[in-house]
Symmetry: C2
């Protein structure tokens, strides 16, 4: 299915203004696929095609356009028409979208957006990025406790089209405090007893998130409790919105990508790899690379400090990259394990002592093993048996230090409210490079006869 | 809310066999929280408490126990009772669970499981791990095309309790070919026209996955199309099962953790960091670390090859860790970016040329910049201005090689059907370490006067 094939036909329909064919094109396929077929159209053409879909479908297809196309449509078409359309977009999506539209255009659009929607946009955009408030939508199904089941279904059916999900129905009191939850499944099962009140049916023990909670916490809770949507409340337990399963999947993917980038010392990208501008990408890598470069310069300084040792025992130089990279690899493993375990709530800060004990035990085992191999090889290169022991001892100490640093640093970052993935890897690698050289040289100085080769 | 607080009370209720209190305990809270409160109980105690919950709730609470506790219950309690209970567990969950139970116990259990369920278990466990077939459940709502809307809702309401989701209803023909999909929302909206047939209401353009597709592909599609569940079909478009949103979230998290571990050269863990046995964890890290260690030994060989150079120009040794680690960091960035972009379907194999061009451009910019800094520092250490140029030239070449290798290797692995995250990082780092030394030495040999200091 190559999407370009459809393009000439679509353009022909537009030229002929073939309303029937265009309406069929809009309804025939899954909205996401319809959007894909329209990829090659200009913003103006795409908008013209969308006129042949009814409003809810139009909103849906538009939602599957690439962000660039969405922005182009909003920026280039008639302001009043766009303002009305924005009023119909899902509350969470339109806020995300408007942050990408040029500010002066947003300023022109805002006064034209219906006042209820405008206030909603302003409220949602006030929440800091990556918090529950920034991800939630304000459209959810509300019921009151004393509503009979028989009426509830009709009430929901009437609202169905404009709600993000009708499968979780939230029970609130007059002041919008969250009181309970009725799933549509429960409602359907209870239809046999039409006089049952919602209050008798609802679950009262709800899993919620606070509006200021980090989106990672939201994802962890939805995953833990297998929820379709999670209600977002403020400190007084007012119901502010919901976050639905599809947005949670996006959050999980986004967080995983950010973590992977941060672990590899890349500042997180806002859009995909290919969409990121070349200079932006260079910058997001360059700042960390430069920082790491200056960190690595400490290794030059450390080696300068011990230049007499490397000159006297030139064979030590041969093992220098080996001991450093073994330390780096071990530390990287520990850091990645602890960072992911923290992200998935497998471990918490309270487990720090268990983590350290494990890492030390593993460090002893791995360091001992690699040290033994290293010794066998050093025997062939070092001048004496005694001299060769520098290598295994160095490897053991470096591997131990690496497991310790690699696991402690992410925990320490979390402890101080930083992202554990943020800087652990760069820090670990620089620290271990420098520490590795110092350990290596100190061990050599203490084991090798002074002066002699 | 510390869960241990409840334990003495729970044990007291059990000792007194206080059925009313135990039944209340089971129903009062969210099943996941009930499960958490029971964490400290023995398998036998936990099972005794569960007897006071009705079957569907019992299954749900059990589903939120930690895997270890689930296995213990199944392995230690009465076989016949367990076999009957397993028959009631969700099809996808019980297959996962039984792979963890000791094989000889599974053999004892299987003949006792009701035959329909037994066949279902055998069918599902035949699918390879990490495929759609291994993640799907076989319980979904089926409708036929000619059913009137008025009857459909009642039919679903009757099945509601044993289905994983009733919100997507799948329309199949007599041979179980998937024909279409009706969402519960559509059904509710259509209740005003009770004579409408399901076939008139259903969507025919469905997003599906093949039963042999990788679970990463499943996750990508559900995320792309914002689905609540995705149908799993075979090559003849027979409907085999569905994968629901909550399982997709688990898949996304699992894949992200696996990728993060693989990027850091840790073989993926089957359970959480703290639950993994110490020797298993040591092994899963040790195999890669040892492989990397032998790879790094090539650096020793490479340096041995050029020992005359490092002896003649001892100052070159001071920059050795710096140039190697800069290459490693750059290559790691490129690899992480490409691996995640492949995982999230941001790029495909077809984009390889665009990726390479970007990486080369970025490599030139970063290598040029870091080279310039390196030159300033080399001027203070190298004997002459001319000699100092070895450092910037080496840095530029190494950074270029690293961006190229770091981006090409994951693409090549994907090309040959391997997991791009699997070995890219270890390979990249070993290759760059060795290549870095060779580049460094070659540049030095060609720029520095032979023999002289």
């Amino acid at each position: 299915m190559t999407n370009v094939l459809y393009l000439p036909e679509l353009r022909e329909m537009l030229a002929k203004n073939d309303a029937a064919a265009l309406a069929e094109f809009c309804t025939e396929l899954h909205p996401a696929r319809t959007a894909e077929f329209m990829e090659g159209l200009t913003a103006k053409e795409a908008w013209a095609v969308l006129q042949h879909a009814e409003l809810p479908l139009r909103v849906e297809i538009f939602g599957f356009f690439e962000t660039g196309k969405q922005i182009e449509i909003i920026e280039t078409l008639d302001r009043a028409e766009m303002a009305a359309f924005i009023g119909n977009l899902p509350p969470d999506d339109r806020v995300d979208l408007l942050t990408e539209v040029r500010p002066w255009i947003v300023e022109e659009l805002m006064p034209l957006i219906p006042s209820d929607e405008r206030r909603d946009i302003q409220r949602l955009s006030a929440y800091p990025e990556d918090t529950a408030g920034a991800v939630m939508t304000t459209q959810f199904a509300r019921l009151s406790e004393d509503l009979p089941v028989s009426q509830a279904q009709n009430k929901i059916a009437r609202q169905a089209e404009e709600l993000e999900t009708i499968y979780y129905l939230y029970v609130v009191d007059e002041e919008d405090h969250l009181r309970g939850l009725v799933s549509f499944r429960q409602l359907v099962s209870a239809l046999g007893k039409p006089d049952t009140r919602i209050g008798q049916l609802m679950e009262r023990d709800l899993v919620t998130v606070n509006v200021t909670d980090d989106q990672e916490e939201v994802a962890a809770r939805v995953a833990r409790y297998d929820l379709l949507a999670i209600p977002v409340v403020d400190d007084e337990h007012h119901m502010l919105g919901i976050i639905t399963h599809d947005d949670v999947i996006d959050v999980v993917r986004e967080e995983a990508t950010e973590d992977a980038h941060r672990i590899a010392a890349v500042a997180p990208l806002d859009v995909g790899y290919l969409e990121t501008r070349l200079l932006t990408l260079t910058w997001k890598r360059g700042i960390w690379l430069t920082l790491l470069f200056f960190g690595a310069l400490l290794t030059t300084a450390a080696l300068g400090e011990y230049e007499s040792v490397t000159k006297t025992y030139a064979w030590l130089v041969l093992f220098l990259p080996l001991v450093i990279s073994t330390g780096g690899n071990t530390g990287g493993q520990s850091a990645a394990l602890v960072i992911r375990a923290l992200a998935t709530r497998d471990i918490t800060l309270g487990d720090w002592w268990r983590v350290i004990r494990r890492e030390l035990a593993i460090g002893l085992l791995l360091g001992g093993f690699l040290g033994a191999i290293g010794y066998l090889i050093a025997l062939r290169i070092a001048p004496t048996y005694a001299a060769a022991t520098v290598i295994p001892l160095t490897l053991l100490l470096i591997v131990l230090c690496s497991t310790l640093l690699g696991s402690l640093l992410p925990l320490a970052f979390r402890r101080f409210g930083l992202d554990p993935a943020m800087m652990s890897n760069p820090f670990v690698s620089v620290l271990i490079d420098v520490l590795g050289i110092i350990i290596y040289m100190k061990v050599a100085l203490s084991l090798l006869p002074p002066g002699a080769q």
